[in-house]
Amino acid sequence: MTRLLLALALAVCVLSPAPGHAVDPREMLEDPALEARARDLSKGLRCVVCQNQSIDDSDATLARDLRVLVRERLKAGDSDKQVIDYVVSRYGDFVLLKPPFKVSTLVLWLGPLLIVMLAIGGAFFYFRRHRAAPETPAAQPAQALSDAERARLAKLLEDDAP
Protein backbone atom coordinates (compact mmCIF):
# COMPACT_ATOMS: atom_id res chain seq x y z
CA MET A 1 0.00 0.00 0.00
CA THR A 2 2.79 2.39 0.88
CA ARG A 3 4.49 1.53 -2.40
CA LEU A 4 1.38 2.44 -4.29
CA LEU A 5 1.09 5.71 -2.43
CA LEU A 6 4.74 6.40 -3.04
CA ALA A 7 4.30 5.77 -6.73
CA LEU A 8 1.29 8.03 -6.85
CA ALA A 9 3.03 10.66 -4.82
CA LEU A 10 5.87 10.72 -7.28
CA ALA A 11 3.50 10.80 -10.17
CA VAL A 12 2.12 13.95 -11.54
CA CYS A 13 -1.14 13.80 -13.31
CA VAL A 14 -1.08 14.97 -16.79
CA LEU A 15 -4.07 15.60 -18.98
CA SER A 16 -3.64 12.31 -20.78
CA PRO A 17 -2.14 12.81 -24.18
CA ALA A 18 -2.87 10.32 -26.90
CA PRO A 19 -1.50 10.18 -30.39
CA GLY A 20 -3.96 11.39 -32.91
CA HIS A 21 -4.79 14.30 -35.02
CA ALA A 22 -5.08 17.56 -33.34
CA VAL A 23 -6.19 20.79 -34.89
CA ASP A 24 -9.94 21.09 -34.59
CA PRO A 25 -11.90 23.16 -37.09
CA ARG A 26 -13.38 25.13 -34.20
CA GLU A 27 -9.92 26.32 -33.20
CA MET A 28 -9.02 27.52 -36.63
CA LEU A 29 -8.91 31.23 -37.33
CA GLU A 30 -10.94 32.75 -40.11
CA ASP A 31 -8.10 34.64 -41.66
CA PRO A 32 -6.18 32.04 -43.69
CA ALA A 33 -2.92 33.96 -43.48
CA LEU A 34 -3.11 34.14 -39.70
CA GLU A 35 -4.17 30.51 -39.50
CA ALA A 36 -1.20 29.51 -41.65
CA ARG A 37 1.11 31.42 -39.32
CA ALA A 38 -0.54 29.73 -36.36
CA ARG A 39 0.00 26.29 -37.88
CA ASP A 40 3.65 27.04 -38.62
CA LEU A 41 4.28 28.31 -35.13
CA SER A 42 2.49 25.32 -33.61
CA LYS A 43 4.63 22.93 -35.61
CA GLY A 44 7.71 24.43 -34.01
CA LEU A 45 6.47 24.28 -30.43
CA ARG A 46 6.89 21.14 -28.41
CA CYS A 47 4.02 19.64 -26.45
CA VAL A 48 5.53 19.64 -22.97
CA VAL A 49 3.32 16.92 -21.59
CA CYS A 50 3.82 14.50 -24.46
CA GLN A 51 6.66 12.22 -25.27
CA ASN A 52 7.90 13.90 -28.40
CA GLN A 53 5.33 15.79 -30.45
CA SER A 54 4.57 19.32 -31.52
CA ILE A 55 1.45 21.00 -30.22
CA ASP A 56 0.15 20.87 -33.77
CA ASP A 57 0.32 17.08 -33.76
CA SER A 58 -0.68 16.36 -30.19
CA ASP A 59 -4.12 15.55 -28.89
CA ALA A 60 -3.34 16.56 -25.31
CA THR A 61 -5.63 19.17 -23.78
CA LEU A 62 -2.70 21.35 -22.77
CA ALA A 63 -1.52 21.24 -26.37
CA ARG A 64 -4.93 22.37 -27.50
CA ASP A 65 -4.93 25.22 -25.01
CA LEU A 66 -1.51 26.30 -26.23
CA ARG A 67 -2.72 26.22 -29.83
CA VAL A 68 -5.64 28.42 -28.86
CA LEU A 69 -3.28 30.73 -27.02
CA VAL A 70 -1.06 31.06 -30.07
CA ARG A 71 -4.05 31.98 -32.20
CA GLU A 72 -5.38 34.47 -29.70
CA ARG A 73 -2.07 36.25 -29.50
CA LEU A 74 -1.74 36.33 -33.28
CA LYS A 75 -5.21 37.81 -33.52
CA ALA A 76 -4.26 40.39 -30.92
CA GLY A 77 -1.46 41.45 -33.22
CA ASP A 78 1.62 39.76 -31.79
CA SER A 79 4.41 39.04 -34.23
CA ASP A 80 5.64 35.46 -34.63
CA LYS A 81 8.63 36.22 -32.47
CA GLN A 82 6.50 37.72 -29.70
CA VAL A 83 4.29 34.66 -29.53
CA ILE A 84 7.28 32.34 -29.37
CA ASP A 85 8.99 34.51 -26.78
CA TYR A 86 5.93 34.40 -24.58
CA VAL A 87 5.72 30.61 -24.63
CA VAL A 88 9.47 30.34 -24.03
CA SER A 89 9.18 32.73 -21.07
CA ARG A 90 6.73 30.27 -19.50
CA TYR A 91 8.32 26.94 -20.38
CA GLY A 92 11.89 27.57 -21.34
CA ASP A 93 13.90 26.65 -24.41
CA PHE A 94 12.67 23.09 -23.98
CA VAL A 95 9.50 24.06 -25.80
CA LEU A 96 11.31 24.92 -29.04
CA LEU A 97 11.67 22.02 -31.43
CA LYS A 98 14.38 23.87 -33.27
CA PRO A 99 17.01 24.44 -30.61
CA PRO A 100 17.99 28.09 -30.35
CA PHE A 101 21.44 29.17 -31.32
CA LYS A 102 23.01 30.06 -28.00
CA VAL A 103 26.17 29.42 -26.10
CA SER A 104 24.64 26.29 -24.61
CA THR A 105 23.82 24.89 -28.03
CA LEU A 106 27.00 25.92 -29.78
CA VAL A 107 28.34 22.38 -29.74
CA LEU A 108 25.08 21.13 -31.19
CA TRP A 109 24.91 23.50 -34.12
CA LEU A 110 28.60 23.64 -34.91
CA GLY A 111 29.18 19.97 -34.20
CA PRO A 112 28.10 18.64 -37.60
CA LEU A 113 30.29 21.20 -39.31
CA LEU A 114 33.18 20.13 -37.16
CA ILE A 115 32.56 16.50 -38.01
CA VAL A 116 32.50 17.30 -41.72
CA MET A 117 35.82 19.08 -41.42
CA LEU A 118 37.28 16.18 -39.47
CA ALA A 119 36.12 13.79 -42.17
CA ILE A 120 37.68 15.88 -44.89
CA GLY A 121 40.85 16.28 -42.85
CA GLY A 122 40.97 12.56 -42.20
CA ALA A 123 40.67 11.77 -45.88
CA PHE A 124 43.32 14.32 -46.71
CA PHE A 125 45.82 12.82 -44.31
CA TYR A 126 44.96 9.33 -45.43
CA PHE A 127 45.82 10.10 -49.03
CA ARG A 128 48.93 11.98 -48.07
CA ARG A 129 50.24 9.12 -45.97
CA HIS A 130 49.49 6.49 -48.56
CA ARG A 131 51.11 8.37 -51.33
CA ALA A 132 54.28 8.96 -49.32
CA ALA A 133 54.53 5.30 -48.34
CA PRO A 134 56.38 3.22 -50.87
CA GLU A 135 54.37 0.89 -53.08
CA THR A 136 54.42 -2.56 -51.53
CA PRO A 137 55.67 -5.14 -53.99
CA ALA A 138 53.02 -7.22 -55.69
CA ALA A 139 52.64 -10.83 -54.60
CA GLN A 140 54.37 -12.21 -57.65
CA PRO A 141 56.07 -10.58 -60.62
CA ALA A 142 53.84 -10.43 -63.70
CA GLN A 143 54.37 -13.21 -66.18
CA ALA A 144 53.36 -13.50 -69.78
CA LEU A 145 49.86 -14.89 -70.15
CA SER A 146 49.02 -17.86 -72.29
CA ASP A 147 46.28 -17.57 -74.91
CA ALA A 148 43.82 -19.50 -72.77
CA GLU A 149 44.64 -17.31 -69.80
CA ARG A 150 44.25 -14.21 -71.94
CA ALA A 151 40.80 -15.32 -73.07
CA ARG A 152 39.80 -16.08 -69.50
CA LEU A 153 41.12 -12.71 -68.42
CA ALA A 154 39.06 -10.95 -71.07
CA LYS A 155 35.93 -12.77 -69.95
CA LEU A 156 36.63 -11.98 -66.32
CA LEU A 157 37.10 -8.31 -67.06
CA GLU A 158 33.77 -8.23 -68.82
CA ASP A 159 32.07 -9.81 -65.87
CA ASP A 160 33.83 -7.72 -63.27
CA ALA A 161 31.28 -6.51 -60.79
CA PRO A 162 31.69 -3.48 -58.46
Binding site: L5, L8, A9, L10, A11, V12, C13, V14, L15, V48, V49, T61, L62, D65, L66, V68, L69, V88, S89, R90, Y91, G92, F94
Partner: protein, 183 residues
Protein backbone atom coordinates in the same frame (compact mmCIF):
# COMPACT_ATOMS: atom_id res chain seq x y z
CA UNK B 1 54.75 4.89 -39.23
CA UNK B 2 51.18 4.53 -38.07
CA UNK B 3 50.22 6.54 -35.12
CA UNK B 4 48.72 4.20 -32.55
CA UNK B 5 46.97 7.21 -31.09
CA UNK B 6 44.33 7.18 -33.80
CA UNK B 7 43.21 3.71 -32.81
CA UNK B 8 42.55 4.82 -29.24
CA UNK B 9 40.24 7.66 -30.22
CA UNK B 10 37.08 5.54 -30.68
CA UNK B 11 37.53 4.02 -27.24
CA UNK B 12 38.13 7.40 -25.65
CA UNK B 13 35.05 8.89 -27.28
CA UNK B 14 32.95 5.96 -26.14
CA UNK B 15 34.11 6.25 -22.54
CA UNK B 16 33.11 9.92 -22.50
CA UNK B 17 29.72 8.89 -23.85
CA UNK B 18 29.38 6.23 -21.16
CA UNK B 19 30.00 8.80 -18.45
CA UNK B 20 27.23 10.98 -19.83
CA UNK B 21 24.88 8.01 -19.91
CA UNK B 22 25.69 7.15 -16.33
CA UNK B 23 24.91 10.68 -15.25
CA UNK B 24 21.84 10.64 -17.45
CA UNK B 25 20.41 7.68 -15.60
CA UNK B 26 20.31 9.78 -12.46
CA UNK B 27 18.36 12.59 -14.10
CA UNK B 28 14.63 12.97 -14.08
CA UNK B 29 13.48 13.76 -17.56
CA UNK B 30 10.00 14.86 -16.71
CA UNK B 31 11.11 17.65 -14.47
CA UNK B 32 11.05 20.93 -16.25
CA UNK B 33 12.79 23.65 -14.26
CA UNK B 34 10.54 26.58 -13.59
CA UNK B 35 11.17 29.64 -15.67
CA UNK B 36 9.26 31.72 -13.21
CA UNK B 37 11.21 31.35 -10.02
CA UNK B 38 12.31 34.85 -9.16
CA UNK B 39 9.77 36.41 -11.47
CA UNK B 40 6.65 38.30 -10.45
CA UNK B 41 3.43 36.35 -10.59
CA UNK B 42 1.94 36.62 -14.10
CA UNK B 43 -1.16 38.72 -14.38
CA UNK B 44 -4.36 36.69 -14.22
CA UNK B 45 -7.95 37.19 -13.19
CA UNK B 46 -10.07 34.10 -12.70
CA UNK B 47 -13.77 33.87 -12.03
CA UNK B 48 -14.96 32.05 -8.92
CA UNK B 49 -16.05 28.42 -9.02
CA UNK B 50 -19.64 27.49 -8.34
CA UNK B 51 -21.19 27.41 -4.91
CA UNK B 52 -18.35 28.89 -2.98
CA UNK B 53 -18.22 32.66 -2.91
CA UNK B 54 -18.13 35.28 -5.60
CA UNK B 55 -14.63 36.53 -5.00
CA UNK B 56 -12.66 34.69 -7.68
CA UNK B 57 -8.86 34.75 -7.71
CA UNK B 58 -6.59 37.33 -9.33
CA UNK B 59 -2.88 38.10 -9.30
CA UNK B 60 -3.59 41.25 -7.34
CA UNK B 61 -4.72 39.07 -4.42
CA UNK B 62 -1.19 37.78 -3.96
CA UNK B 63 0.39 40.87 -2.46
CA UNK B 64 0.93 41.61 1.16
CA UNK B 65 1.70 38.18 2.58
CA UNK B 66 3.49 35.00 1.81
CA UNK B 67 1.10 32.53 0.24
CA UNK B 68 0.83 29.28 -1.67
CA UNK B 69 -0.85 28.76 -5.03
CA UNK B 70 -1.93 25.18 -5.68
CA UNK B 71 -2.99 23.92 -9.11
CA UNK B 72 -5.49 21.05 -8.95
CA UNK B 73 -8.28 19.41 -10.89
CA UNK B 74 -11.05 16.95 -10.08
CA UNK B 75 -9.66 14.66 -12.81
CA UNK B 76 -6.24 14.53 -11.14
CA UNK B 77 -5.53 11.39 -9.14
CA UNK B 78 -2.30 12.64 -7.58
CA UNK B 79 -4.17 15.71 -6.30
CA UNK B 80 -6.37 13.40 -4.31
CA UNK B 81 -3.24 11.92 -2.76
CA UNK B 82 -1.95 15.37 -1.87
CA UNK B 83 -5.20 16.77 -0.57
CA UNK B 84 -5.20 15.38 2.98
CA UNK B 85 -1.86 17.05 3.55
CA UNK B 86 -3.25 20.38 2.34
CA UNK B 87 -6.19 19.99 4.74
CA UNK B 88 -3.73 19.37 7.53
CA UNK B 89 -1.68 22.36 6.45
CA UNK B 90 -4.69 24.61 6.72
CA UNK B 91 -5.16 23.56 10.32
CA UNK B 92 -1.55 23.71 11.41
CA UNK B 93 -0.14 26.69 9.56
CA UNK B 94 -1.31 30.20 8.88
CA UNK B 95 -0.02 30.42 5.34
CA UNK B 96 -2.98 31.02 3.05
CA UNK B 97 -3.40 28.42 0.34
CA UNK B 98 -5.06 29.62 -2.85
CA UNK B 99 -6.02 27.39 -5.76
CA UNK B 100 -6.40 27.31 -9.48
CA UNK B 101 -9.06 24.81 -10.49
CA UNK B 102 -7.54 23.72 -13.76
CA UNK B 103 -9.27 22.44 -16.87
CA UNK B 104 -12.63 21.35 -15.52
CA UNK B 105 -14.89 20.23 -18.34
CA UNK B 106 -17.92 20.46 -16.07
CA UNK B 107 -18.14 23.60 -13.92
CA UNK B 108 -19.76 21.61 -11.10
CA UNK B 109 -16.95 19.03 -10.93
CA UNK B 110 -14.45 21.16 -9.01
CA UNK B 111 -16.88 22.26 -6.30
CA UNK B 112 -18.19 18.70 -5.89
CA UNK B 113 -14.66 17.42 -5.49
CA UNK B 114 -13.88 20.01 -2.83
CA UNK B 115 -17.09 19.20 -0.99
CA UNK B 116 -16.10 15.55 -0.92
CA UNK B 117 -12.45 15.89 0.00
CA UNK B 118 -12.40 19.09 1.95
CA UNK B 119 -11.69 22.70 1.10
CA UNK B 120 -8.45 24.13 2.51
CA UNK B 121 -8.33 27.05 0.14
CA UNK B 122 -8.71 30.73 0.80
CA UNK B 123 -9.38 31.81 -2.78
CA UNK B 124 -10.18 29.55 -5.73
CA UNK B 125 -10.16 30.58 -9.38
CA UNK B 126 -11.77 28.68 -12.24
CA UNK B 127 -9.39 28.13 -15.15
CA UNK B 128 -11.19 26.05 -17.76
CA UNK B 129 -9.00 27.14 -20.68
CA UNK B 130 -5.60 26.95 -18.99
CA UNK B 131 -5.11 30.69 -19.27
CA UNK B 132 -3.61 31.06 -15.83
CA UNK B 133 -2.00 27.65 -15.91
CA UNK B 134 -0.07 28.44 -19.06
CA UNK B 135 0.89 31.82 -17.66
CA UNK B 136 2.38 29.94 -14.70
CA UNK B 137 4.12 27.45 -17.00
CA UNK B 138 2.21 24.55 -15.54
CA UNK B 139 2.65 21.16 -17.18
CA UNK B 140 0.65 18.94 -14.88
CA UNK B 141 -1.21 18.76 -11.60
CA UNK B 142 -0.65 19.11 -8.77
CA UNK B 143 1.86 21.91 -8.79
CA UNK B 144 2.36 24.40 -6.00
CA UNK B 145 3.96 27.83 -6.09
CA UNK B 146 5.30 29.79 -3.16
CA UNK B 147 4.68 33.52 -3.60
CA UNK B 148 6.22 36.21 -1.42
CA UNK B 149 4.76 39.45 -0.12
CA UNK B 150 5.70 41.40 -3.21
CA UNK B 151 4.03 38.88 -5.47
CA UNK B 152 7.26 37.26 -6.65
CA UNK B 153 7.33 33.50 -7.19
CA UNK B 154 9.98 32.01 -4.98
CA UNK B 155 9.61 28.28 -5.45
CA UNK B 156 7.75 25.81 -7.59
CA UNK B 157 7.03 22.28 -6.51
CA UNK B 158 5.96 19.72 -9.09
CA UNK B 159 3.92 16.83 -7.78
CA UNK B 160 2.04 16.27 -4.56
CA UNK B 161 3.17 18.23 -1.51
CA UNK B 162 4.21 16.12 1.41
CA UNK B 163 5.44 16.72 4.96
CA UNK B 164 9.04 16.13 3.92
CA UNK B 165 9.10 18.90 1.34
CA UNK B 166 7.23 21.19 3.67
CA UNK B 167 9.67 20.64 6.50
CA UNK B 168 12.86 20.71 4.45
CA UNK B 169 12.18 23.36 1.84
CA UNK B 170 8.97 25.32 2.06
CA UNK B 171 8.67 26.17 5.73
CA UNK B 172 12.28 27.38 6.11
CA UNK B 173 11.82 29.52 2.99
CA UNK B 174 8.58 30.95 4.33
CA UNK B 175 10.19 31.76 7.65
CA UNK B 176 13.05 33.50 5.89
CA UNK B 177 10.70 35.54 3.71
CA UNK B 178 8.64 36.57 6.69
CA UNK B 179 11.65 37.65 8.61
CA UNK B 180 12.71 39.81 5.70
CA UNK B 181 9.36 41.34 4.90
CA UNK B 182 6.78 40.47 7.53
CA UNK B 183 3.39 38.81 6.89
Amino acid sequence: MRSRLIFIIPLALFLVLAVYFAVGLTLDLKKLPSMLEGQPVPAFDLKPIQGRDDKGFASTDLKGQVSLVNVFGSWCVACRVEHPFLMQLKKTSDVPIHAIDWREEDPAAGPAWLKRHGDPYALVGDDPRSKAAIAFGVTGAPETFLVDQQGVIRYKHVGPLNPQIWKDVLWPLIAELRKAGGG
